[in-house]
């Protein structure tokens, strides 16, 4: 997957809004934004991860939880691949120090990020493949989701 994809997305917003063909396909997703980490709308977020200032990735019977923090051009934790079983749920919380757009390839998800406010997205693995999670301003790749 190329960096170009992400770049292309910056302006090909119709693609982002309209949805990706390749993707998670029928994966269902819901999302919520909250200004308070502890009231994050995700039922599967674990207490430890939502209050953690940095980030963590935990696995619970209900699914996986991943938190990512963006400071300027720095992504914490460093980009990595999160494995997700087919049918498994991922709760992703992203906090950025600037306004941005979060885009999850293949799952038709695009969310506005407000500076300093954690944004939580839930998705369920469906079609096997690897999908990128990125932001647009600046173009940063946060992680990859490997559905297998």
């Amino acid at each position: 997957m190329s960096y170009a994809a992400g770049l292309a997305l910056v302006t090909a917003l119709t693609a982002c809004g309209g949805g990706d063909p390749a993707g998670g396909g029928g994966a269902t997703s819901s999302s919520s934004t909250s200004s308070n980490p502890t009231s994050s709308g995700s039922p599967t977020s674990s207490a430890t991860s939502t209050t953690s200032a940095s980030s963590s990735s935990t696995s619970t019977p209900a699914g996986r939880t991943v938190e990512v923090t963006i400071t300027g051009r720095k992504v914490d934790p460093a980009p990595a691949t999160v494995k997700l079983g087919v049918g498994e749920k991922l709760t992703l919380t992203v906090t950025s120090d600037h306004d941005d757009v979060l885009h999850i390839h293949g799952f038709d998800i695009e969310k506005n990020l407000k500076a300093g406010q954690p944004t939580t997205v839930e998705l369920t693995g469906d079609a096997p493949g690897v999908y990128e999670v990125e932001t647009h301003e600046p173009e940063l790749r946060l992680l990859k989701i490997a559905v297998q």
């Binding site: 170009a4 770049l7 302006t11 119709t14 309209g18 990706d20 063909p21 993707g23 990128e132």
Partner: protein, 440 residues
């Protein structure tokens, strides 16, 4: 899936889906096979040169006649010109959104599709290249001889090497590269440069220097269909074509670009690489350096191995690296198939769907709007199998081509020892390629 929800990301970007990492067991088996096959081949293969440009089994007469017939050639040229004109229409008048087909045509069809087609039927771009017909048309309009040239062409493959590297830079690094304004600059820039160079240097430029002709011709050497020395059509092995590639300036460079650009594409998906790059102040500068660096590493390592080989065989190292450069072609082809198979299936098909609505009016002018990619062709297990088979096959072919070359270049008693550095290098390339598929 309706046309409206098709996303238009370029090339590997295309699609928002990537292949799952290669299972570790595949990596081990592939690497082991590459190692064993290489050194068994060293001892077991023939000891005197035996692949000749006169080899091959004549194709049936009707097929040979058809291949040379003006009718078939004319149809191929007209079909290509139609696709080119249709794409230009989309480029100029289409809507700048995700459903515009230009990005798919440029980044998927012209790149991956042309390489795959050429591997099957040979270097067709030399015949159908729209630049060639533009050049011929301009000369005819001006009532000038078709062989007209202002200067003798002496640049060999260099313009192609530069052009291919520039294309990959556009595809993988340039900002907003799926947007029409950027694509317009790229496409019209390419056409303008091509027309100028072909007017200055004449047809020899179009045969050697045009980037896509080189791309198609070099991968086309692997086709089972080829012309032997007397010009007749024959079926032959994918070993014969690469050995027929004659020396010209820039041959090592263009072969290194073939392998290096695909390797960079895999490498750039490594989370450690992009994690490092995206945190820098000028990420695109780093990426450009990475792309050029990978190509230079390929060229430099081949030159070094060739130099060592020449030393071991006690012959002059002059020209040895270029003589071995064509053995990179099958290895690059293996990488290419492994890396882009699912992209081709997925975005190649989606591109065909978008192609039916060139102006973004919601039309279905060609009746292909409803085509969807065949999911059965890109199941994870099939993709993993294709990746390993392609890379190992490319490796084996590369080893045998290098073996044959070594027999022709080196004195017989030194030919075995002289191959060892090249074999080691090919094993490194192959294990490296598998590792990229495993880890990125």
């Amino acid at each position: 899936m309706t046309l409206g929800v098709l996303a238009a990301l370029p090339a590997h970007g295309v699609g928002s889906r990537e292949d799952l990492p290669l299972p570790f067991s595949y990596l081990l088996v592939g690497a082991g096979l590459a190692l064993v096959i290489s050194f068994v081949a060293l001892g077991a293969l023939w000891k005197t040169p035996r692949l000749r440009d006169t080899d091959g089994r004549l194709v049936p007469k009707t097929l040979a006649l058809a291949l040379d017939s003006p009718a078939l050639r004319g149809i191929a040229v007209l079909a290509t010109l139609f696709v080119a004109a249709w794409t230009l229409m989309s480029l100029v008048f289409g809507k700048d959104n995700a459903n515009n087909p230009v990005a798919s045509v440029v980044y998927v069809w012209l790149w991956v599709g042309l390489a795959f087609l050429s591997m099957l039927v040979g270097g067709v771009w030399r015949l159908v290249n729209p630049l060639r017909w533009l050049h011929a048309g301009l000369l005819r309009l001006a009532r000038v001889e078709p062989d007209f040239a202002l200067a003798e062409y002496r640049l060999g493959y260099w313009p192609a090497a530069v052009g291919l590297a520039a294309f990959v830079w556009l595809e993988l690094i340039a900002p907003d590269n799926a947007d029409l304004p950027v694509l317009r600059v790229a496409v019209f820039g390419y056409l303008l440069v091509g027309v100028i160079l072909s007017l200055v240097f004449g047809r020899p430029y179009l045969r050697r220097g045009d980037a896509f002709t080189a791309w198609s011709s070099l991968y086309g050497t692997l086709s089972p269909l080829g012309r032997r020395a007397d010009g007749r059509w024959v079926w032959r092995t994918p070993l014969h074509g690469p050995l027929q590639v004659g020396f010209d300036r820039g041959l090592l460079a263009v072969c290194a670009v073939l392998l290096g650009t695909t390797a960079y594409d895999g490498f750039s998906g490594e989370s450690r690489w992009y994690g490092f790059v995206q945190g820098r102040s000028f990420p695109r500068l780093w990426e450009t350096a990475g792309l050029l660096g990978v190509c230079l590493v390929v060229a430099g390592s081949l030159a070094l191995a060739a130099w060592l080989s020449a030393r071991l065989a006690r012959v002059s190292w002059h020209g040895v690296a270029s003589a071995f450069a064509p053995s990179l072609i099958p290895i690059a082809a293996g990488y290419l198939i492994a890396h882009y198979w699912s992209l081709w299936v997925w975005e190649g098909t989606n591109g065909l769907s978008k192609f039916s609505d060139p102006l973004g009016t919601g039309g279905n002018w060609l009746g292909t709007a409803g085509v969807t990619p065949a999911a059965a062709l890109i199941t994870p297990s099939l993709v993993a199998a294709i990746q390993v088979v392609a890379i190992i096959t490319g490796h084996v072919l590369g080893v045998v081509v290098a073996h044959e070359r070594a027999l022709a270049l080196f004195p017989r008693r030194a030919a075995v020892a002289g191959q060892v550095p090249l074999l080691v290098l090919m094993v490194i390339y192959t294990v490296g390629g598998l590792t990229l598929l495993f880890s990125s």
